[in-house]
Amino acid sequence: DQQVKQNSPSLSVQEGRISILNCDYTNSMFDYFLWYKKYPAEGPTFLISISSIKDKNEDGRFTVFLNKSAKHLSLHIVPSQPGDSAVYFCAARGGGGSQGNLIFGKGTKLSVKP
């Protein structure tokens, strides 16, 4: 049973518009959430994170929103650029004693068209 779900395998957006990537989770013990970006043949690159005690974190064009009651988070990219085209992974760190490992979703492939 998947604890972190990214239900959209792909998303296509026009350059300059907003990209919204969604992620749902099932475990209320998760205390930290991260977004990673991955280009082909490279490892995941950290993008932005949010603690479970916050509901928003912003870094330049990237904003992550967390809705704990809905167990949902989203990544907003504004404005989207062609270089943002990549696979985006949502990840959660398990609380309740599980401090090390991250649990990843399956990823959403974002294509930003010029």
Partner: protein, 116 residues
């Protein structure tokens, strides 16, 4: 200085053979993680080291998989009697302390293992 490095970048082997995958973490990082990513999936946790000891090996799929980090820096993931289902990208990540205090894990480029 540099980021996490992994060698080899690609490894092709035959079913039943033994393989070793190496990870060099970011200098000074005490926590090191191994993940495995199959096609169309996100990375799946295998094992986590805090210093030289395995703090959590609950993700290792079976006893054919073993990992060591004898001096608290470089780590080697060892797979015995490889099976075709072991084919995947093996990712290594490191973080400064691994204390659970909201640390970011930094990933290497991965080793692409193909078992024929």
């Amino acid at each position: 200085g540099a980021g996490v490095s992994q060698t080899p970048s690609n490894k092709v082997t035959e079913k039943g053979k033994y393989v070793e995958l190496r990870c060099d973490p970011i200098s000074g990082h005490t926590a090191l993680y191994w993940y495995r990513q199959s096609l169309g999936q996100g990375p799946e946790f295998l094992i986590y080291f805090q210093g030289t000891g395995a703090a959590d090996d609950s993700g290792l799929p079976n006893d054919r998989f073993f990992a060591v980090r004898p001096e608290g820096s470089v780590s080697t993931l060892k797979i015995q009697r490889t099976e075709r289902g072991d084919s995947a990208v093996y990712l290594c990540a490191s973080s400064p302390q691994g204390s659970g205090g909201g640390e970011t894990q930094y990933f290497g480029p991965g080793t692409r293992l193909l078992v024929l």
